[in-house]
């Protein structure tokens, strides 16, 4: 019995490295031909490159105060101008980008782990399904931003708590998507033949079910990155994110609000950066969805 399970695994592995690698190239090629994926990828790449490299080539300090350079409009000396404390808006928006990307990545990783785990457990084990999904329903009944606000308000303001709050808000949504595909896949013939060959639950889940449930998960994670960045900005706009002077897009806009008449660039620039990020990720997600999982059309 164990032997035939191993044979099946070998076939699965063969498919992954033989035929499947051809299929993988095809997928990449189709993605690259997809217009909105290309635009989205480019927008997101610009942001990531700026976040990584601008601090390396410029010595602008996002927290250095300078009374001499207050409210300098965008121009030669300061590309994006300065704020009420004379800090470079470019440096602040770029450091804000680092924080946003860090938070987005953390939320996506937490979702990939726990969302997939919970979704797989409840889709695969009928006994776990009901309790897990009732809990999920309850968490999803809270309006997302409101729940994130309440969790960060209770835990206290910090970047780590924002990540925890966003994970609590979005993991149930990811779990539900993974569960839906696991429910379908576990009925398929190759899963049944793995069962017949004597493969254990863990092996079936890991080798046969989860690899096939990846497409909708990847699509969900790309949209999730966008929501996480957007919600983080909302939280820190309301004063619930990282404490100033640490720049986040949200708190830059909250502070720049009172000077929006005389220095509108302070709030415009982080907003545009936020829009480019979210737009890029949404376009990227649209492309991934069209290519990887054409059945999905509506995302939460």
């Amino acid at each position: 019995m164990a032997e035939s399970a191993a044979t099946l695994d070998t076939i699965a592995v063969d498919r992954r490295f033989g035929l499947a690698s051809q299929a993988r190239w095809d997928t990449l090629r189709r993605l690259w031909r997809h217009r909105s994926f290309k635009i989205g990828f480019a927008l997101f790449a610009i942001l990531v490159l700026a976040a990584v490299f601008v601090p390396m080539v410029s010595d602008a300090d996002p927290t250095k105060l300078s009374m001499r350079t207050r409210f300098v409009p965008p121009g030669a000396e300061f590309l994006f101008g300065t704020d009420n404390f004379g800090r470079s808006a470019l440096a602040r928006v770029v450091y804000g980008a680092r924080l946003s990307l860090m938070i987005g990545t953390s939320v996506v990783v937490l979702n990939a782990i726990f969302g997939a785990l919970l979704g797989a457990l409840s889709g695969y084990f009928p006994r776990l399904d009901n309790p897990l999904m009732r809990m999920n329903d309850a968490l999803m009944a809270f309006p997302p931003v409101l729940l994130a606000i309440a969790v960060t308000a209770v835990l206290g303001r910090s970047t780590a708590n924002v990540i925890v709050a966003l994970a609590i808000v979005y993991i149930p949504r990811t779990a539900r998507i993974v569960r839906a595909s696991v429910l379908v896949i576990r009925q398929m013939e190759f899963v049944q033949s793995a069962v017949a060959a004597g493969a254990g639950h863990w092996r079936i889940l890991r080798r046969h079910i989860l690899p096939n449930a990846m497409a909708p998960l990847i699509v969900q994670l790309s949209f999730l990155f966008a929501y996480a960045v957007l919600t983080e900005a909302t939280l820190s706009f309301l004063g619930l994110g990282a404490e100033p002077p640490t720049p986040t897009w949200g708190n830059i806009m909250a502070q720049g609000r009172q000077y929006m008449t005389e220095a509108p660039w302070i709030i415009t620039i982080p907003g545009v950066a936020l829009m480019i990020t979210v737009l890029g990720l949404n376009l990227l997600g649209d492309g991934l969805r069209d290519v990887l999982d054409p059945r999905l059309r509506v995302h939460p």
Binding site: M135, A141, V154, L238, R257, T261, L274, L279
Partner: protein, 316 residues
């Protein structure tokens, strides 16, 4: 139909129980001693004890839990620490403000979202389609508080057309309300317009390919009848489901929008509660709004059953 309604309400009971339990648990997540956080460093131990007593935190957890459910059944969500009035009273007073702006935004969402989605589907792959979809994409990619701020800069500061914020009750002065509520409602609606337009377009495209649409066209019906009667009626079902999500997004979006436009609604109540660490208020407002959204979703599901006989027969 009556059975569908009963079933749906019964189905919501576990969700409501868990939502109230989670909300209860959330208050217990406050790190450290709440009384220290609330009273400040200078508080004497007696003052702290008093605060703990007032919040019922000196009781064992199971007693607190029983009290929580007992109070809930009587419609008591506790007292605001800062305003000194019951949470339900404070929330109810501000609810009409939030609801009037959310309703305005919902109307804008439905009109703009449906219209642009239908138009895009009818003119698939033309410039109309592309323009509508770019607009929708931008809508779902911009944070509503930022759109609000940008609109204030443009329409209030530069053009001076609309006030920068504030609120006039609708029953006092309709035009005044309209002047104050338009920018908040538009900034609140754009995200949902984008969502709805995208979904309407894709469902309409699917419906327009169906045989009965071709038949309707073939027998010479004018386009507005084909679209309005045959296509839209069938496309409405997935759209109604999305409206439930939209209402939830609108209500949570209003928290931020009210802060941007200084509108005295439930959202502002919640943001000031956060600043003042008014935990009972945060807890109460969260629960109140969530239960409101759950109620709206039940209503949506019933509408869904009413629209789609298949659901009705299966469910009944």
């Amino acid at each position: 139909m009556g059975r569908v309604i009963l079933r749906r309400i019964a189905g919501a009971i576990p969700v409501v129980l868990l939502v109230t339990l989670i909300t209860f648990g959330l208050m217990r997540l406050i790190p450290g001693d709440v009384s220290a956080a609330l009273a400040g460093v200078s508080a004497t131990p007696a003052e702290r004890e008093q605060i703990r007593h007032n919040l019922g935190l000196d009781q064992p957890v199971q007693v607190q839990l029983v009290r929580w459910y007992g109070d809930l059944l009587r419609g008591d969500l506790g007292r605001s620490l800062f305003l000194g009035e019951p949470v339900t009273k404070a929330t109810f007073e501000r609810l009409p403000v939030t609801l009037s702006i959310s309703a305005y935004a919902l109307v804008l969402t439905l009109v703009l979202g449906l219209a642009s989605g239908i138009l895009a589907a009818m003119r698939q792959n033309t410039w109309v389609d592309q323009a509508a979809m770019i607009f929708a994409m931008l809508g779902i990619s911009m944070p509503n508080f930022w759109i609000g701020l940008m609109m204030i800069v443009l329409f209030s500061v530069h053009l001076g057309w609309l006030p920068t914020g504030g609120y006039v009750p609708i029953e006092q002065d309709f035009l005044g309300w309209l002047r104050n509520a338009t920018m908040p409602a538009v900034s609140l609606a754009l995200l949902q317009v984008g969502l709805l337009a995208r979904i309407t377009r894709s469902t309409m495209l699917e419906v327009l390919r169906q045989d009965y649409v071709r038949t309707a066209r073939a027998k010479g019906l004018p386009t507005y009848l084909v679209i309005g009667k045959h296509a839209l009626a069938n496309a409405m079902i997935p759209i109604v489901t999305v409206v439930g999500i939209i209402v939830s997004l609108l209500i949570s979006g209003s928290v931020v929008t009210e802060t941007v436009f200084s509108i005295p609604g439930v959202g502002q109540l919640l943001t000031s509660a956060i600043l003042n660490r008014d935990y009972p208020m945060i807890q109460g407002a969260l629960l109140f709004v969530t239960l409101l959204v759950v109620g709206i979703n039940i209503a949506m599901d019933i509408a869904y059953a009413w629209l789609d006989p298949r659901v009705r027969y299966e469910g009944g």
